[in-house]
Symmetry: C2
Subunit: 515 residues, 2 copies
C-alpha cells in the first residue's frame, strides 16, 4: 500500500465521477465546447432546528479561484482515467477524449461573475455565474460546491456567534472536531464571518493572523503528576508568559482552588510590574461562574482581567449566558455590562461543524446555453414550484431604502439597468400575483452585486485580504435590519424577481408545459 | 496577498497554538523530554437525536501515522513562530526553545499502541496510547484528534447505513457538501465503514478504488436546451456507455416520461446485444416510485436492471424505504425482496456530515508520567464521576462468549494477563458496587485489542489495505449482538474495568481527595 497520493486526490480528479463521464458524453456529441452558463445559489438559509439564519455570509471564493488557476490534468490523472473500466471490462474513457482533456489548458475557457466574499447573501440569488465550454463548466460543479458551500456555512455561523457575543472577541477553537483538513477552510471562514482569531496555528500563520490560545488541563495535570500543585503550574506559566498570563482555572475546583490560585499568581505578577491577562472557564455554569470570578477578581484588584469562556458554546448558549449575567450579576455586586465587556468566547465544535445545520444546500444549475453566439435561457421545471429555475443570464441588485438599509435583493436579466427605471416592479420569486411596485424615490441606491472575477481562466484582480473581506461583512451587516439579524425566527428578507425576468420565466414554463 | 501556503497550514503548525506555548513552558521547566503517556478515547457514541449508535468503527490511523512520519519543523514554521508576539510586543518563543524544536527530529521519540482501523470500538476504551516526550506528545494532541475523530465518526455512520441497507451496495455521494478537503478523509472513512464505492474520483483513484456515478439532471437539460428531448439525451448516453447505461429518470416526470423513455432506450440497447444497467430516482417518494419503476421494468422484460436511490438518504430513511417496500410492493404485483435486491443507495450529505451528530467527542488525556524510569499513573478528577480518568498504562481486551459473540470490552492495567486468570471480575467503569464475576469457562476468547503501531517514530508494519480494513470491520460486526447493532435505542454494550484497574482508580481518587 503506497502513501495516499494527494496530488491525485486534490487535483483535477477532485470531482464527482459523473462529471467526467458526462464530459466525455458531451465530447462524443460534439457539444463539449458549446458555451454555457451555470449558476451557483443556495435554496435555503441554514436551519439549525430550534433557530434559523436570516442571512448568509459569502465565503470561499479565493480558494476556489486558486484551485481553478493552479489545477490542470496531470499525466497521472489521465492514467487513472485510462484504467477505468465499465461492467463489460472495456475502458470507459477513449483516447480521443483523454487527448482533448490534456491538450486543453483546462480552465482557460472559464469566466466567472461572483458576489465578493464577506457580503451578506440570500437564497435564490446567484452567488456565482460560471461561463465556459459545457464539458469544462460541468466538471467544475463538484469542486465549486465543495469549496463554497462549507465556507459560506461556517462564515454564516460565525457571524451569528459574533452577533450573539455583542462584538466581544471570538476565538475559533474547533480544529480537533473538524472534518480533517477542512479545519483550515473552517478557520478561514470563521475569521471572515466574525471570529477575531483562531487557535489553528498553521491556518493563522498562512493567513497572516496571530494564532491564539491559553493552556490545557493537561498542563496542570502534568505538574501535579510531577509532585507540584495547581498554583505551582500557574506560577510556572506566569514565569514564562508574564505579560500573557491567562490561566485555566477549572482543573480542580473553579471557585475554591482555581480562581484563588490565579489571584495569588496575579498578585505576584503585579508586584513584578506585569499586568495579568485573565482566566479561562471551561466547565460548569459559565454565567454563574463568570459572575463569581468577576467578583473575586474585582475584590482582589484585578478588574481589568479578561474572562475567557469555552465549552460547547454556540450563538444560543452565548446569548443565554449574556442574558443570565444581565439578570443575575447585580445581586452579587457585579456590574453586568462591565462583566460582559471583559468576556472572550472560545468556540469549537459548534462553529466548525455549524451545529444544527452541517451543510449548506448550494446547487449549481445550467441557466443558459449559447446557440450561434446568442445566449438562450434554459430552465428546469419541477413538480415543486420552488425548484423551477430562474432562466437565463442574470444580475443581482441590492436595493437600499432612504435610510440606507438593504430592503431587498432583486434578480434581473443580465441586460437590465435597474438604476435608470422610474419605478420598479418586484415579483415574488415563485408565487404568482404577489408583487409590489416601488417608485425610484423610495430607493436610495441600487447596487449590482455580481462582478467579474475570472476572465478566460485568469483572475481579474488580486484577491482582497481577509481584513478587507471582514470590513465588507461589517458594512453589509450594518445595513441589514435588526429583525433580519435576529437569532431565532428572523424577519424574512425579500428576494424578488424583476418584471422582465418574471415574464421570461412564465413564458418558458408555459412553453415547457405545452411540449 | 500571496497564495494560501499549504506547507505552513498542513505541516507541523497543523495544531492548536496552546500546544506550542505549553511545549515551551515544559521546555523552560526542564520537563519537555519527560516520558509520558496520553490516551485517546471517546466518551459517548454518536447520538443523532432521534437515534443513537451502539458501536463505533475505528478509522483514520493510517493517515495520522502518515502525517506523523512525514512531518517536521521547516525553517518557515520556525520563522512564523519567531514572529509571534505577546501583549507586550515581545516575542513569545525564545531562540533556545525554537532551536530545540528544529534540532529534534520531531516525532522520533513517539511510540503508539493502537486499536487497528476497521475494528468495532466503544466509549471509554483507549483507541490509541501515545508514549513519548511530554512536549512532543502534547503537540500531537490536536492533529491526532483532527485525524481520528472525523474518520471514526463517518465510518460509524457508514456502517449504520450499510446495515440499514441490508448489505445492498452503498455509494458515497457527499463531496459537494463536505467540509472542503475533509471530503477525501470522509470518502475513505465511508469505504471503511461500509460504503462500497464513492463518487469522489480523486480519493477513489488514490485509494485504488473505482469511482462510481450516474449522470446529472444537467445532462438532460443540456440536450433539451439544444433542441433535443429526454429520450434524445438517454439515447446519447446509451450510445457512449452501452454496457453501463444507468439513466436518471426524474428530470421531467418519473413515471410518465423518465421510466418509459428509459425502457425504450433499454429495448434499443438490448436489440444491439447490450445489457442495460438500470435507472436512478432522485426525488419524490422513493419507496413508491421504486415499486412502480420495478413493475414497469419487469413488465418490459428488464427485471435484472438496478434501481439507484438518492436524495437526502441516511440510515433511517433507507430503513423506512425498505419497510415501505415490504408493506406495499406486493399489492402492485412486485416481489418486495426481489425489488430490495436490485436497489443501490447513493448517500451524500447525511453520510459525509454524519447527520445529527457532526462530531465525535474524542479526547486525549495524560494517564501516566515516567519518574526515573517508572510509569506513575496520573489521574484527573472531576465533579462529574463520568469524567474521572482511568489512570495508568493500559490494555483493552475483548471478551467473547461461548457462541463467539463479543460480550464486553475490559480495560485493564497494562501488565495484567487476563487470559490466565480462573475467573474475571468486571467492574462498571464509574459506578461503585456494580460488578460481576465470570468464570473462565464462560469466556471463549480474551483478545487484546491494542497493538504496537509506531516505535520511536517508525511504523511497525506497512498499513493494511482498505480491503483488509473492511474485512476486519465485517468480522467484528458479525461478532456483535444484533441488539447492539439496532439503529434506534441499541442495547448497551458492556465496557468494564478489571479489578486491578478499578482498585488503582479508587486509591488515586481517595488520595487526591485527601490532598
Amino acid at each position: 500500500m503506497t502513501r495516499f497520493d494527494r496530488k491525485t486526490a486534490e487535483g483535477m480528479l477532485y470531482t464527482d465521477f459523473y462529471q467526467l463521464t458526462m464530459a466525455q458524453l458531451y465530447f462524443r456529441n460534439g457539444i463539449h465546447e458549446c458555451p454555457v452558463q451555470f449558476e451557483h445559489f443556495f435554496r435555503n438559509y441554514p436551519d439549525y432546528g430550534s433557530h434559523q439564519a436570516g442571512y448568509c455570509i459569502n465565503a470561499g471564493l479565493e480558494w476556489l479561484l486558486d484551485w481553478i488557476t493552479q489545477t490542470r490534468f496531470q499525466e497521472s490523472d489521465i492514467r487513472h482515467l485510462r484504467s477505468q473500466t465499465g461492467r463489460s471490462g472495456k475502458r470507459l474513457f477513449k483516447d480521443d477524449f483523454l487527448d482533448w482533456l490534456t491538450k486543453y489548458v483546462i480552465f482557460e475557457g472559464i469566466s466567472m461573475r461572483s458576489i465578493p466574499e464577506g457580503r451578506v447573501v440570500h437564497p435564490g440569488c446567484p452567488l456565482n455565474i460560471v461561463e465556459g465550454p459545457l464539458a469544462i463548466a460541468q466538471m467544475l460543479e463538484t469542486p465549486l460546491l465543495n469549496y463554497l458551500n462549507y465556507q459560506t456555512l461556517v462564515a454564516t455561523k460565525s457571524a451569528r456567534i459574533h452577533e450573539a457575543g455583542r462584538g466581544r472577541p471570538v476565538i475559533e477553537f474547533g480544529m480537533r472536531r473538524a472534518q480533517e483538513r477542512g479545519a483550515n477552510a473552517g478557520a478561514r471562514a470563521a475569521l471572515i464571518g466574525g471570529a477575531d482569531f483562531t487557535s489553528n496555528t498553521g491556518a493563522s500563520c498562512a493567513l497572516g493572523y496571530s494564532p491564539k490560545g491559553t493552556h490545557a488541563h493537561s498542563m496542570v495535570q502534568a505538574f501535579m503528576a510531577l509532585g507540584h500543585d495547581e498554583i505551582g503550574a500557574f506560577r510556572a506559566y506566569a514565569e514564562v508568559y508574564p505579560d500573557d498570563c491567562l490561566l485555566l482555572v477549572d482543573t480542580i475546583n473553579t471557585l475554591e482552588s482555581g480562581i484563588p490560585n490565579a489571584i495569588q499568581v496575579f498578585e505576584e505578577l503585579k508586584q513584578k510590574g506585569h499586568t495579568p491577562f485573565g482566566i479561562r472557564l471551561d466547565s460548569g455554569d459559565l454565567a454563574y461562574l463568570s459572575i463569581q470570578a468577576a467578583k473575586m477578581l474585582n475584590n482582589s484588584g484585578f478588574p481589568g482581567t479578561v474572562i475567557v469562556l469555552s465549552n460547547q458554546l454556540d450563538e444560543i448558549v452565548i446569548w443565554q449566558i449574556i442574558s443570565q449575567i444581565h439578570a443575575e450579576a447585580t445581586k452579587y455586586g457585579v456590574d453586568p455590562d462591565g462583566l460582559i465587556n471583559r468576556l472572550i468566547f472560545g468556540v469549537g465544535t459548534g462553529l466548525i461543524t455549524s451545529k444544527g445545520a452541517p451543510a449548506l444546500d448550494g446547487v449549481y444549475k445550467m441557466t443558459a446555453i449559447s446557440n450561434n453566439g446568442n445566449w438562450m435561457p434554459t430552465i428546469k421545471i419541477s413538480e415543486s414550484v420552488k425548484k423551477i429555475l430562474n432562466p437565463g443570464p442574470k444580475q443581482v441588485w441590492r436595493m437600499y431604502d432612504r435610510r440606507g438599509r438593504a430592503t431587498a435583493d432583486v434578480i434581473s436579466t443580465r441586460d437590465e439597468l435597474l438604476q435608470n427605471v422610474p419605478s420598479l416592479t418586484l415579483h415574488h420569486p415563485t408565487e404568482e400575483g404577489i408583487s409590489r411596485t416601488m417608485s425610484r424615490e423610495e430607493i436610495s441606491t441600487l447596487e449590482p452585486l455580481l462582478i467579474e472575477v475570472l476572465k478566460e481562466g485568469v483572475p481579474v484582480q488580486a484577491p482582497p485580504s481577509i481584513e478587507d473581506i471582514r470590513q465588507c461583512r461589517i458594512a453589509d451587516m450594518d445595513r441589514l435590519d435588526t429583525g433580519v439579524k435576529r437569532l431565532i425566527s428572523p424577519h424574512r428578507y425579500h428576494v424578488s424577481l424583476s418584471e422582465k425576468l418574471w415574464n421570461l420565466k412564465q413564458e418558458m414554463v408555459a412553453m415547457m408545459k405545452k411540449e
